[in-house]
Symmetry: C2
DNA sequence: ACATGTGAACTGCTTCACAGCG
DNA sequence: CGCTGTGAAGCAGTTCACATGT
């Protein structure tokens, strides 16, 4: 896991003082989201054997503009070659480093219902270095059963377990009614990063980072779009 | 389903030519997302027996500011009472109407894997008037089995079925590698609204509306936030 | 010649602040 | 007097356009 392990060739400038990894600017969330997307596109390109890619191609695949791609990357450094584009393997390595995917991330999933179970076995997580240490629930009928290699644990033991295993992230896959309460228990257990699948906004202390995925809300957004789309500028 | 059926009382101005339901302005996606959230908060308040709510309270629960709440609502009309706040039941009805939740939305789910199965039984969908007509897959072992009341159908019959049932929305819960292909089949079947759970951006014709939920990407966003958080202004 | 990297212009969402009204 | 509704100000993210470098 030495930094810069991915790219071969000689690294251009051994004397790059700061700037790269921990640029201390507040990067927009939308930018980070797009970086993840670029990474996926690059990996697909890599599998096809593509060695070089331009900001134009990256934008096309990623659903953006070339200027956006260049601007996003520029916040973290200069990874391309003028007149040529970006070396795919090199940029993959850089994005891995920028996004913090070089290390293992230890995850607890709270809620062994349908969604929790689906997430426990989700391949996309494992591929990115996210290890599910345990799935928690308070339903006695579920505790002890296995969900995709992972045994369902008693939610009452969350704090004790967390003290020992020190997970980095908790994924909340519980009903909206109890989400706030569960979040508080999770925070009290010392976990300060939460991925929330419950359809309610969580109120947490400032040091805790929350990201929410609200599926019902996205469906409603679609409904809105359908209802309102042809009433707006049919010419566009 | 007559427009304006929800709210009781006399509508303030019978002579309001346009403006209310189909305001022909392009409303920001972020605004629509917040409206869905307000709706959920209001419904919770309603269950607790709250009859009136201020923009301040709505903001608190919804994780925004009161000015934001008022601005969001103002795009669609004036629903509050100065000095008093909003009548909960009335605002619920208005938001239902605005978001297009007055009618039934017919949904196909494509992909009977873990995520597809979880979505097929997801309560949050049914509660909002989204009816899952069918789950599609091309795995012969799954076709014919039941996933939460819904029988898994042969993906090959999607176009034929869609011609008869005319679903409004397709939810894509398939692996990233085939997502683009599946999207094309879905669009060819005449479905022009897609909720995409695959971790790749879809390329579709302009008349098709796509909304994406990328769970792996959100996790990566959390990882980024964790890595970069204490390196930025420890004082904040 | 061609594509990156980036200051500057622009667009549009959010916040402010207060007039208007119950 | 309190809270809404909204024009105006502020700000952040995106797009433009071109200088820079290969």
């Amino acid at each position: 896991m030495a930094p810069g392990g991915g790219a071969c060739e000689i690294v251009h400038k051994p004397s790059r003082p700061e700037r790269s990894v921990n640029a201390d600017k507040p990067i927009a969330e939308s930018t980070v989201r797009r970086l993840s997307l670029y990474l996926r596109v690059l990996e697909q390109a890599q599998e096809r054997g593509t060695r070089t890619i331009s900001s134009d191609e990256l934008a096309e695949e990623g659903g953006t503009t070339s200027a956006q791609v260049r601007k996003d990357l520029s916040f973290f450094g200069s990874f391309g070659t003028r007149g040529r584009g970006y070396h795919v393997a090199e940029l993959v390595a850089e994005l891995h480093r920028i996004l913090g995917l070089g290390r293992e991330w230890r995850v607890y999933i709270v809620g062994a219902g349908r969604i929790g179970a689906a997430l426990a076995g989700y391949h996309g997580f494992v591929q990115r270095g996210f290890t599910v240490l345990g799935v928690y629930d308070n339903d006695a009928r579920l505790i002890g059963t296995a969900v995709d290699d992972v045994v369902v644990r008693d939610f009452g033991r969350l704090a004790t377990d967390a003290a020992a295993e020190r997970p980095d992230i908790a994924v909340l896959a519980v009903p909206g009614e109890v989400a706030q309460l569960v979040a508080e228990r999770v925070v009290a257990a010392g976990i300060d990063a939460i991925l929330n699948f419950a359809p309610v906004p969580l109120h947490v202390p400032a040091h805790v980072t929350v990201r929410s995925v609200n599926m019902a809300l996205e469906l409603e957004g679609l409904a809105y779009a359908i209802v309102h789309r042809d009433s707006v500028h049919p010419a566009a």
